[in-house]
């Protein structure tokens, strides 16, 4: 970076031009998907969006800040239930733009939860932190299980997607509108987190990961940095929950059990802890693989090997390539001038 105008150009490219371009491209792509895919494939695509947000948000804590949260599904559950509750019981017949507020509300409540859970527990290190986050996630699930207002163990059904919009002869279907929202949130998450980890605040996250004691010696309040990372991650996990809720249209607390957190950990670890594009890549693969490769395989062999393969992959990766597929690199490092 030689002068400020060049740096400004790069920043505006990253924060406005590319994202808008991406939204337009995916919006056009969505019309095509609408035609050539069936409902099942469409649902899987929406799950991919939710999982990308979920995995990237966890990467902020586990990858960039070097902490180890294994209860991230709890925050997703909070976001999902808040958003679902607002859209079923509070607002009747929500319009297209109401869904954005639902997602933000879900994210904010999840972030508040992250603050409550994070403030005391982030003073702990390593494995203790892992266990506390696990406990916190489980507590959220048990509380939801005992909440009659959101259906308890029976689950919460009838969660709407945006109602279809008619523009003359041209009809925007609920799937397409839901897809647009999901893509919108994926892009927002990626841009915000990308800019965040490449900013001064991002450097403090990295410094805590690299050496907490040295960071402290440089005058960084490590607990507050960790809590900040945790709260931001919880916010986006809540957004992911909202996207998930309006895609699945039905929620039960069991969805957000420990295995959901493990899914996110697998994505972050395989993609590379500390690589946003790595998490995106892993989220796409880990979501698509079981649906389009392992499910036919399971039908063929009669046994469901999905989790066996994942857990084996986790172990083998830790032994042979602990940094994951991408390591801490991003995809653009491939073509960036050295």
């Amino acid at each position: 970076m030689t002068n400020s105008s060049e740096s400004f150009g790069k920043k505006s490219l990253q924060t406005t031009v590319l994202p808008i371009l991406a939204i337009v491209v995916f919006a056009l792509l969505g019309q095509g998907l609408e035609v050539i895919t069936n409902q099942y494939v469409q649902l899987v695509l929406l799950y991919v969006c939710a999982n990308i947000i979920f995995a990237v948000s966890l990467n902020l804590v586990n990858g960039f800040t070097g902490q180890f949260s294994i209860g991230h599904a709890g925050f997703m559950a909070v976001g999902a239930y808040v958003s679902a509750y607002l859209s079923t019981s509070v607002v009747t017949q929500p319009g297209f733009f109401d869904f954005i507020w639902f997602a933000i509300a879900g994210g904010l409540v999840a972030a508040a939860d992250g603050y409550v859970g994070g403030l005391p527990s982030l003073r702990l290190r390593g494995d203790y932190l892992a266990i506390v986050t696990l406990g916190f996630g489980e507590i959220i699930r048990v509380v939801l299980l005992n909440m009659p207002a959101v259906g308890g163990a029976r689950g919460l059904g009838g969660i709407p997607r945006p109602a279809q919009i008619e523009l003359g002869d041209f009809i925007l279907t609920p799937f397409y509108l839901g897809y647009l929202q999901s893509i919108f949130w994926v892009i927002v998450t990626l841009v915000v987190l990308w800019r965040l980890v490449h900013s001064v605040h991002g450097r403090t996250f990295l410094s805590v990961r690299e050496d907490e004691i040295a960071a402290q010696a440089m005058g960084i309040n490590t607990t507050s940095v960790k809590v900040r990372a945790f709260v931001i991650a919880a916010f986006f996990a809540g957004i992911a929950g909202s996207v998930f809720a309006h895609s699945a249209q039905y929620l039960i607390p069991q969805t957000f059990a420990f295995t959901k957190s493990v899914d996110a950990i697998i994505m972050v670890v395989l993609g590379g802890m500390g690589s946003i594009t790595g998490s995106v890549f892993a989220a796409v693969v880990v979501t698509l693989l079981p649906e389009f490769v392992l499910r036919p395989l399971a039908d063929y062999t009669g046994v469901d090997l999905r989790m066996v393969i994942y857990s084996l992959a986790l172990i083998l990766f830790m032994i042979a390539r602990p940094q994951g597929i991408f390591g801490t690199r991003e995809i653009n490092d491939l073509w960036r001038r050295k």
Binding site: S121, D127, Y128, N146, F258, L312
Partner: protein
């Protein structure tokens, strides 16, 4: 004695009996943590495999319906052997290659091993629950007022006490116990003193895993429904018990286990059974915030 006191005493008996099972499993967590500073997530799955080992062992040996002390002992030994082989295998192939890797990587591996065993278990044993063989006749041994002392509770308490005593003796008075204590204090210095650290670690896994096998048979005896996911919750609770007592401390694991069993029984009896699992985690979070070293643990200062 009033009815309320008698009811209370009955709950205490049930709680201690449940707690001593937690204690046995918690000992496995605490020993491995003491030596490797690793939360062995796979421990709860070793326990699960122990239950299935006893189940298939009993079927194979034709002990399915011959309750008695001999059956109990045979099944205990069988489960212990299978569990220790599994424990050592896990250590050898999953943890040992990572001995010098960052702690986080080993933790992730442990989660991976745990998932692998859970889901392979579902494929091999089938996901539906199985009925554990009839190990002992459950009869009332003594009645004090309406308070019942049942065979199961006595057997569980007796077996747990026996193994805790053996373990304490082994750690305190044998050569290998001394080596274990040395390795847990400082494994570099211990290896300079001629201790084979890898062997001590393997031995720790043998002991911890066989205690999990004992716990599995006792749980199977009392709650005779076993399935491949049975380890998750009880494993977490035993871990909470280990942290409560002070992880790394053997006495702490026993104390934590009993406290955990008692408090859980009391929550179910006097508050609400639906919040039973949330309670364990709530307790854990409170301990970690106010006394991270646990009740009997020593607080250690992080050094540069």
């Amino acid at each position: 004695m009033s009815d309320l006191t008698q009811e209370f005493i009955q709950h205490v008996i049930n709680g201690v009996s449940l707690g001593s099972i937690y204690a046995l499993i918690a000992l496995g967590y605490t020993m491995v943590y003491g030596i490797l500073q690793l939360i062995n997530f796979a421990h709860s799955e070793v326990y699960m495999v122990g239950a299935f080992a006893a189940y298939y062992g009993a079927r194979h040996l034709g002990l399915n319906n011959s309750p008695g002390i001999t059956t109990l002992i045979i099944l205990l030994v069988f489960a212990m052997v299978v569990c220790s082989v599994l424990g050592v295998t896990i250590e050898r192939f999953a943890y040992r290659p990572l001995r010098k890797a960052p702690k986080l990587n080993i933790l992730i591996t442990a989660i991976g091993v745990s998932l692998l065993l859970q889901y392979s278990g579902q494929i091999i044993f089938g996901a539906d629950p199985k009925v554990f063989p009839n190990v002992l006749d459950d009869s009332v041994l003594a009645m004090i007022g309406t308070v019942e002392l049942r065979t199961f509770d006595i057997a569980i308490l007796g077996v747990s006490l026996f193994f805790t005593a053996v373990l304490t003796w082994m750690i305190q008075y044998t050569k290998i116990g001394k080596a274990m204590r040395a390795v847990s204090t400082n494994h570099v210095v211990a290896s300079l003193m001629g201790i084979n650290v890898d062997r001590v670690i393997s031995f720790t896994f043998i002991i911890g895993s066989s205690l999990a096998g004992v716990g599995a048979v006792l749980v199977g005896m009392k709650y005779p429904k076993i399935d491949p996911l049975m380890g998750t919750l009880i494993g977490l609770k035993a871990f909470v018990a280990a942290v409560l007592g002070g992880i790394g401390s053997l006495g702490g694991a026993v104390l934590g286990g009993v406290l955990m069993g008692l408090s859980e029984e009391m929550v179910v009896a006097y508050l609400s059974s639906t919040y039973r699992d949330a309670f364990a985690f709530g307790l854990l979070i409170l301990i970690l915030i106010f006394r991270p070293a646990g009740l009997l643990g020593k607080a250690s200062q992080e050094k540069v």
